[in-house]
């Protein structure tokens, strides 16, 4: 009969209309600035640099190996290696980034930099309300802006952070057990178990 399907459709929309007043299922809007959905732990947005200790610049884990710079698909990372060295968390003498810039307007949040980093120095942040009025300088983040403490990392990705800490502690213990600090030439031979880490 002509009109039957139309009536069925009308019944369906009516059900949704009245349902929207009684059931959360049928009123799915989250009114954003007031209501916020919890972010899943895996949520990622833009990278940041992890530092240990209190000094946000001296405690950076980054040793300026420039792997992330090379691997970054949109090439949004810019690193300048320092000329001098300073001890890292194990105590080895390492370079550090004199300049570490990320252009977040170019960054595509792919997390490749995190995966390739042998030092767990760069991690993904989940902050997303980052708008600025200056789209060039305002979105080019320097080392100072990128540095965030390990506690923050624990805060946003507790499971991953714990894993990373464990691994770093293990590496440190191994290094201490192996020998007294002789300035190691290379630390790039980190175990490959990191590949599955996020």
């Amino acid at each position: 009969m002509l009109g039957e399907g139309i009536l069925k459709g009308l019944a369906e929309t009516a059900r949704n209309f009245f349902g929207s007043f009684v059931s959360k299922e049928r009123l799915t809007t989250v009114q954003f600035p007031e209501e916020r959905l919890p972010q899943p732990e895996a949520a990622r947005n833009f990278p940041f640099l992890v530092y240990d200790g209190d000094d946000s610049q001296a405690g950076l884990r980054c040793v300026a190996c420039q792997i992330c710079e090379k691997e970054c698909p949109p090439k949004c990372i810019f690193i300048q290696k320092s000329s001098d060295k300073k001890p890292d968390y194990i105590g080895k003498q390492q370079f550090y980034p004199a300049v570490f810039n990320i252009d977040v307007s170019v960054c595509m949040s792919c997390q490749i930099c995190v995966e390739v980093c042998p030092f767990d120095a760069i991690e993904m942040d989940n902050a997303f309300e980052l708008s600025t009025t200056d789209r060039f300088r305002g979105l080019l983040w320097s080392r100072e802006q990128l540095a965030k403490p390990n506690s923050y990392f624990h805060n946003i990705h507790p499971a991953t952070a714990a894993e990373v800490d464990e691994r770093l502690a293990e590496a440190k213990a191994r290094a201490e057990a192996k020998a007294k600090p002789t300035v190691a030439a290379s630390t790039t031979s980190q175990p490959d178990s990191q590949t599955t880490t996020s």
């Binding site: 459709g9 369906e12 899943p40 595509m108 792919c110």
Partner: protein, 385 residues
């Protein structure tokens, strides 16, 4: 029909038309609400009937393939997300499959299962979006689209908690998957899969029997079987024309031979069949999901041979293809032993399915053109690359 303010049609166009009527040439797009982004159709109309249609694309060309040839294998993975941005996980899979063939990597069983689960969820995401937009193009004021997106959101939430991103998942790696399932993910997925048929029923109630929908969809934009095969059309579009061709069955890539599912086939090859084939395919996907979620084994996620840094496959070539929601998605790679592929080529289903657009639209009205175009189901990111 044409009028004083309209530019006169050129001689050729007039010759192409029927009768003595003059033709109206309009550009649908690139700024048009129904062109799925920045697509343009140069349409020659006789009244409202399409006489000629020339698809114009390239507005979204991003040089994906050339960039991939100068980047490492891994660095192209997030770019594949952005090909067909509705279904990034199947893109990941197709690319990973090609690289795995090239490098001879073995994917552990658990990772294969997770790939199947995510791919079928992606199929649901894609088909809900497609039919939602299709009804929008038929002029429904957003209601079916909103219902479709309501369900799609639930799956995107799953993606986010698994991969960290709703659309740009970047989840699969050469030789496995990137991260283990988060706690509770499996249960949540089971719940979503359990509830999904309710949405499909609702949708069928709302649209499938609707006379206006039937009038707009049946007998419109017929794609003949032979033409579909000749043009290399794949995916739901091909199956709606009645060709039994699904790479999940043909290639049995991954572990698809372990699942019990069927391939819905259309008969007329019109808009309605393309819509229904997608609806039925979603139900089949749910069957696969049920089985995969039930059988998901424990085990490692990555092939231990796989390397993230310093990945250099030995020289050779490989073509990996999967049944993406839109059709056959293939990646062709040549390695010269360096960290970058020597040649990188995508076989995008969207672009190749689009080639029959003019044949489908000729003779139908401009309103049909929009609907037919909607059932081709393209994403400009994949067409233009």
């Amino acid at each position: 029909m044409t009028t004083a303010p309209v530019k006169e049609a050129t001689h050729d166009e007039r010759a192409a038309g029927c009768g003595q009527d003059e033709l109206l040439e309009i550009a649908l797009g690139p700024h048009h609400p129904s062109t799925h982004g920045v697509f343009r159709m140069d349409v020659v109309l006789d009244g409202e009937r399409v006489v000629k249609l020339k698809p114009v694309f390239g507005y979204l060309h991003r040089n994906h393939e050339k960039i991939a040839e100068s980047a490492s294998y891994l660095a192209s993975m997030p770019y594949t997300d952005r090909l067909d941005y509705i279904c990034s996980l199947t893109n990941n899979w197709a690319y990973a499959l090609a690289v795995e063939k090239l490098a001879g990597l073995q994917v552990p069983e658990r990772a294969e299962y997770i790939r199947v689960i995510t791919a079928e969820l992606t199929r649901l995401v894609n088909h809900t979006a497609t039919i939602g937009f299709l009804t929008q193009e038929m002029g429904a004021s957003g209601t079916p689209l909103m219902y479709a997106f309501r369900e799609r959101e639930k799956i995107l939430d799953l993606f986010e908690s698994l991969t960290g991103s709703r659309m740009m998942c970047n989840y699969m790696r050469f030789g496995g998957c990137r991260v283990e399932l988060p706690a509770g993910w499996l249960e949540q997925t089971k719940k979503v899969v359990e509830e999904f048929p309710r949405f499909l029923d609702e949708y069928e109630q709302l649209l499938t029997g609707n006379e206006i929908f039937m009038a707009r969809a049946q007998g419109v934009g017929i794609l003949k079987k032979d033409l579909a095969i000749d043009a290399g059309v794949t995916g739901p579009m091909l199956r709606a024309s009645g060709v039994n061709y699904d790479i999940r069955k043909v290639d049995k890539y991954g572990i698809y031979d372990r699942f019990d599912f069927k391939i819905p086939l259309g008969e007329h090859g019109d808009v309605y069949d393309r819509y229904m084939v997608r609806m039925l395919e979603m139900r089949e996907s749910l069957k696969i999901l049920h089985q995969a979620l039930r059988d998901l084994p424990q085990g490692p996620l990555m092939d231990p041979k796989a390397k993230i840094r310093g990945f250099r496959p030995k020289p050779g070539e490989a073509y990996g293809r999967i049944e993406a929601p839109k059709g056959e998605l293939g990646f062709y790679l040549i390695s010269d032993g360096s960290p970058n592929p020597y040649r990188y080529r995508v076989r995008p289903p969207s672009l190749i399915n689009l080639t029959v657009l003019e044949d489908m639209c000729r003779g139908y009205s401009i309103a049909d053109t929009i609907v037919i175009f909607g059932t081709v189901d393209i994403v400009l990111g994949e067409v233009d690359r």
